[in-house]
Symmetry: C2
Subunit: 261 residues, 2 copies
């Protein structure tokens, strides 16, 4: 660490996908403000399931808001990824971000859900810019879910990552179980389980007599090995999956050479 | 192939992210209809950059449209991933899809763009359901881009995949160069290049005096090795990257075990 870096406090960007007034982001801000200067840039409305969407067809706006006492905070009308882009290029233009944390999401982003998740896509976007990034999600969708049992684990992971970094990666997908008795057993570093959504669209008719569909579904785990995030969560451990953005399936390359001309 | 399968024509789902009236999807439909029964389910408006977004906060609608003579086609008010979900669960409820093709996108989805791309996310969604899927993109954004030089390559890749499959993967990210002289040199199977967007938000003021931002940027390649999609495209080869949805960075797991408690 350089002399200058040792003097200045780390700069921490906080975002989420449930929107700037969700309880989860407030918990995360509470925890992370012990570790540096915190700036919040988060969506002005729920953005769950927005994946890595960016807004290309519409203008984006950012407004300073007074949501977190004593902290610089902005709401944005775009997606979680838009928030991170605006944070980097407009809000924090000449400042180097040391850590990005996203969440705490109300609901799981384990297994394949990383791909649909605005929470994780925001963290991934920051990681693409070279910033160590962590997405946190609690396995409870409720607005009034109890975040207290997860606080020491979120705190420990942030502290450890700030001290020791993330080898060979810049992104962690952290999911936190919600055991009925509140007793989380520990932390497991694991891989993303194979799984998928079994969709069941709700079908209904609007006041004009037109049919519409509403997306819903049940998550189906296709992978029951003990080294997965799903296993960890089912056994009341916090799951930590180091994640990246290279989607190449290298094992397929040799067998596909027949395509070359 | 079973006797029954040998008798019935393959069922091919076509989608895109530029919308059902974009020229690129018409070219793709033209090519693919030689290989089976084609059903089109595509967005009713441009959905570029929507990544793996799904629509959770609003109802979805699908309407039959007469866009492709003699073909069953539907437009949907959701994202490209919504289109694939609705295709599977509503439009093609009791029918097995044999292949999903997405595109031909107007613009590159090479390198890291796979993450932002609605075209590729639609194909990935179908691959999650066990369907061999291919996203095609042409390196020209223009509405009136000339798709003729790319047709034989798109045709060859579809034919080969239908005959021989995709080993160890169910998803191909195919990008097609746009050389000035129209001379594409061939096909290369490669990995996703490392790269990122250098954003440059356009900043302006609306009629009410409020500032707004519009996302734009320049793509920066950080990886110049010869086994990448970017290299292939720069050398006027079609790039084929076998792709997946497991984002785990396995190399990071041992070094992160210190987090476990």
């Amino acid at each position: 660490m350089s002399y200058f870096a040792a003097m200045s406090k780390p700069l921490i960007l906080v975002t989420n996908d449930d929107g700037i007034v969700a309880p989860g982001i407030r918990v995360l801000v509470d925890i992370v403000r012990a570790y540096g200067d915190v700036v919040v840039v988060a969506p002005d409305s729920p953005q769950s399931g927005k994946g890595h969407a960016v807004t290309l067809e519409e203008p984006l706006r950012i407004n300073k808001v007074n949501v977190f006492p004593g902290l610089e905070a902005y709401e944005c009308n775009g997606t979680p990824v838009d928030c991170v882009k605006l944070a980097k290029h407009i809000v924090l233009k000449d400042r180097k971000v040391d850590l990005c944390v996203s969440g705490i999401n109300h609901g799981s982003n384990a297994s394949i859900n990383i791909i649909y998740s605005g929470t994780m896509s925001a963290a991934m976007e920051a990681s693409l810019e070279g910033v160590n990034s962590i997405g946190f999600s609690l396995l409870n969708f409720a607005f009034d879910a109890d975040f207290n049992p997860c606080r020491p684990y979120v705190d420990k992971i942030i502290r450890d990552v700030m001290e020791r970094g993330i080898p060979h990666s810049r992104l962690l997908n952290v999911n936190i179980p919600y055991p009925e008795n509140g007793r989380i057993r520990g932390i497991r570093v694991c891989k993303q389980a194979e799984g998928r959504w079994r969709e069941e669209f709700m079908e209904a008719v609007d006041p004009r007599g037109q049919k519409y569909y509403w997306l819903t579904g049940v998550f189906q785990v296709d992978d029951h090995s003990e080294d997965t995030d799903i296993w960890a969560l089912q056994n009341n451990y916090v799951s930590v999956v180091p994640s990246g953005h290279d989607l190449t399936t290298y094992a397929s390359i040799p067998g596909l050479k027949y395509l070359e001309v």
